[in-house]
C-alpha cells in the first residue's frame, strides 16, 4: 500500500488543489476543538498539580513548572492526537470508504489514476506538516489555561506560575513533542485511510470500519507513545 502512496503525484496542479482541500478538512477544522480541549485540560492540570503540592515545603512556582512539563510532554502531543484520531480518523475512513463502496475509487483507477497516491498522500502530508502547528498552539493554550485557572481559583499566584513556566526551558522537550506529533500524525492519516480504502460492502460497513479505524489508531498512538518516550527520553 505505502509503495503506491509514496509515488510521485501524477499531476502537480491537482496535487496542490488536493493539499489545499485537505488542509481545510483535516487541518483548519481540527483547530477549534484542539484549542478548546487544550485550554481546559491545561486548567485542570494546573489545578490538580496545585492540589497535590499543598505541602508548604514545596515552592509554589513548581506548579507552573510541572504544568508546563506535563503539557509539553504528554497532554498536548498525546492527548490531542487521540482526540484527532477520533475526529479526523473517522472522517478519513468514512470519506475514503464511501468512495470505495460507491465505486468512485474504481472510477479513479479506470481513468488510469493511482487512487492511493491521489487520495492518501495529500492527507499524510497535511497531517505531518500541519499537526505540529496545531500541537504548538495547544501547548501555548494549555499553559495559558493553567494560568487562567490559577487566576480563577486563587490556588496559586500569577507571578509564581509565570516564574515556574520560565524555569529551565529545555528545547529538547519541545523537539520531542514535535517528533511524537509527526509520528502520530502519520498514524492518524494512514490507519484510517487503510480501513476506508479496503472496506467491502455498503454504508453499514463504512460505519463499522470508521469505528474500528478509530480504535486501532488510538491503540497504536498509545503503544507508540510508550516506545517513543522510552527511546527519546531515557
Amino acid at each position: 500500500m505505502l509503495k503506491q502512496v509514496f509515488k510521485r503525484p501524477q499531476k502537480g496542479k491537482i496535487f496542490r488543489d488536493s493539499l489545499v482541500r485537505e488542509l481545510d478538512d483535516l487541518g483548519n477544522k481540527s483547530l477549534g476543538i484542539s484549542a478548546f480541549i487544550a485550554f481546559f485540560v491545561g486548567g485542570v492540570v494546573a489545578i490538580q498539580t496545585a492540589l497535590n503540592v499543598d505541602n508548604p515545603m514545596i515552592p509554589k512556582y513548581l506548579i507552573g513548572f510541572a504544568t508546563k512539563r506535563s503539557i509539553i510532554l504528554e497532554f498536548a502531543p498525546t492527548f490531542i492526537s487521540i482526540i484527532l484520531a477520533g475526529k479526523v480518523g473517522s472522517f478519513i475512513t468514512s470519506s475514503i470508504g464511501t468512495m470505495r463502496v460507491t465505486e468512485q475509487i474504481d472510477a479513479l483507477e479506470v481513468m488510469g489514476i493511482n487512487s492511493l497516491n491521489y487520495l492518501v498522500l495529500p492527507k499524510i502530508i497535511t497531517t505531518i506538516f500541519f499537526y505540529p502547528f496545531i500541537i504548538s498552539i495547544a501547548i501555548f493554550l494549555g499553559i495559558f489555561g493553567g494560568w487562567v485557572a490559577g487566576e480563577l481559583t486563587g490556588l496559586f499566584s500569577s507571578t509564581d506560575y509565570i516564574d515556574g513556566i520560565q524555569l529551565e526551558f529545555k528545547s529538547f522537550f519541545y523537539v520531542y513533542a514535535m517528533i511524537k506529533t509527526m509520528v502520530f500524525a502519520f498514524v492518524i492519516a494512514t490507519i484510517p485511510a487503510y480501513h476506508g480504502y479496503y472496506v467491502k460492502g455498503g454504508s453499514l460497513e463504512v460505519g463499522r470500519s470508521s469505528t474500528r479505524a478509530v480504535v486501532w489508531t488510538s491503540v497504536t498512538i498509545i503503544v507508540l507513545n510508550y516506545f517513543l518516550t522510552q527511546m527519546l527520553l531515557s
Binding site: E103, Q104, V110, G112, I113
Partner: protein, 256 residues
C-alpha cells in the same frame, strides 16, 4: 479488438467466472446479459483489471493485459471509459469538475480548451445548464449522462457500461441506450454493456452474450435471441409476457 480467453475469477469459495471467452470489435455494441448475480459486473471489472482473474488472458488490440506493467496498464486505462452502475460521480465535485477531471489529470490543455471539450461532451449527452450542479442535485438519468460524458471526454477507444439504464424509467432508459449506441458508431469505439433489461436488447444489441452462473451460456445477435431454443436463454427472455409475444411475431415473420 478485445479478446477474452477462458477467464476464471473466484472470491474465496465462490467461483464466479468459470471460463469465459469472448471477442469485442470496434464500432460494435456488445451486450452482456443475464440475471442479477450471474457475474456480469465481475466480468466487466475483470476486463478492466479492477478484479484480477486467476486464469485466462485478456488482450487489448493484441497486447496481453496480464503481462503489462503498472504504468502500461495506467496508460491503457486512459483509453478506457467506464460508466459504473451507480454512476460513481465524485460527489464533492460539480458536474463540470467531474467531467473535466480526466482532462486536468492527463492533458496540459488550458482552462478554456478543457472547458470547451467539457461543454462539447455535456452537450453531446444533452445536459445543458448543469455545469455547476452537484451530483446529489441531479436525477438518476442526469447522473448517468454525466457519467457517460466523463467516460467519453478523453475520446476513449473502449467504453464499458455497467447497467447504464438500471433504475431509470423506460423512456429515459431507451434514450441512454441510444445515446451510447450513437457514440459507439460515431467514434468507432468498442463498447461493452452489461444489462438485464430486454428492452436494451431490442434497442441496441448488435452482439449478445448471455451469462448464467458464471458461464457463457449463449452468444448471438438480437435477432437470434428470439429464435434460439436454448432453454436458459428462453427462460430469461420469456419471463415476461411481452417478450412471449415478440417471439411469436419473429417466428411468424420467418415463416413468411
Amino acid at each position: 479488438m478485445i479478446e477474452v480467453k477462458d477467464i476464471h475469477k473466484s472470491f474465496g469459495d465462490a467461483h464466479v467466472l468459470k471460463g469465459i471467452s469472448a471477442t469485442f470489435e470496434a464500432g460494435k455494441t456488445s451486450l452482456i446479459i443475464g440475471q442479477s448475480g450471474s457475474g456480469k459486473t465481475v466480468f466487466i471489472k475483470s476486463l478492466l483489471g479492477l478484479h484480477t482473474p486467476e486464469k485466462g488472458d485478456i488482450c487489448y488490440d493484441g497486447k496481453n493485459y496480464g503481462n503489462m506493467s503498472t504504468d502500461e496498464r495506467r496508460y491503457l486505462r486512459k483509453e478506457i471509459g467506464m460508466v459504473f452502475q451507480g454512476s460513481a460521480l465524485f460527489d464533492s465535485s460539480t458536474v463540470e469538475e467531474n467531467v473535466m477531471f480526466p482532462l486536468k489529470m492527463f492533458t496540459n490543455q488550458s482552462k478554456s480548451e478543457m472547458l470547451e471539450r467539457v461543454n462539447f461532451v455535456l452537450n453531446r449527452v444533452d445536459l445543458v445548464d448543469a455545469n455547476n450542479k452537484y451530483p446529489s442535485e441531479l436525477s438518476g438519468g442526469m447522473q448517468k449522462r454525466v457519467a457517460i460524458a466523463r467516460a467519453i471526454v478523453m475520446k476513449p477507444k473502449y467504453l464499458f457500461c455497467d447497467e447504464p439504464n438500471s433504475g431509470l424509467d423506460p423512456r429515459t432508459a431507451i434514450l441512454i441506450d441510444n445515446l451510447i449506441q450513437e457514440i459507439t458508431d460515431e467514434y468507432n469505439i468498442i463498447t461493452v454493456i452489461n444489462t438485464h433489461d430486454m428492452n436494451s436488447v431490442m434497442e441496441i444489441g448488435e452482439k449478445i452474450i448471455f451469462l448464467q452462473h458464471g458461464i457463457k451460456e449463449w452468444e448471438g445477435t438480437s435477432n437470434d435471441i428470439f429464435k434460439t431454443d436454448n432453454k436458459a436463454v428462453t427462460d430469461f427472455v420469456y419471463s415476461s409476457n411481452l417478450f412471449k409475444k415478440v417471439r411469436q411475431a419473429y417466428l411468424m415473420e420467418d415463416k413468411k
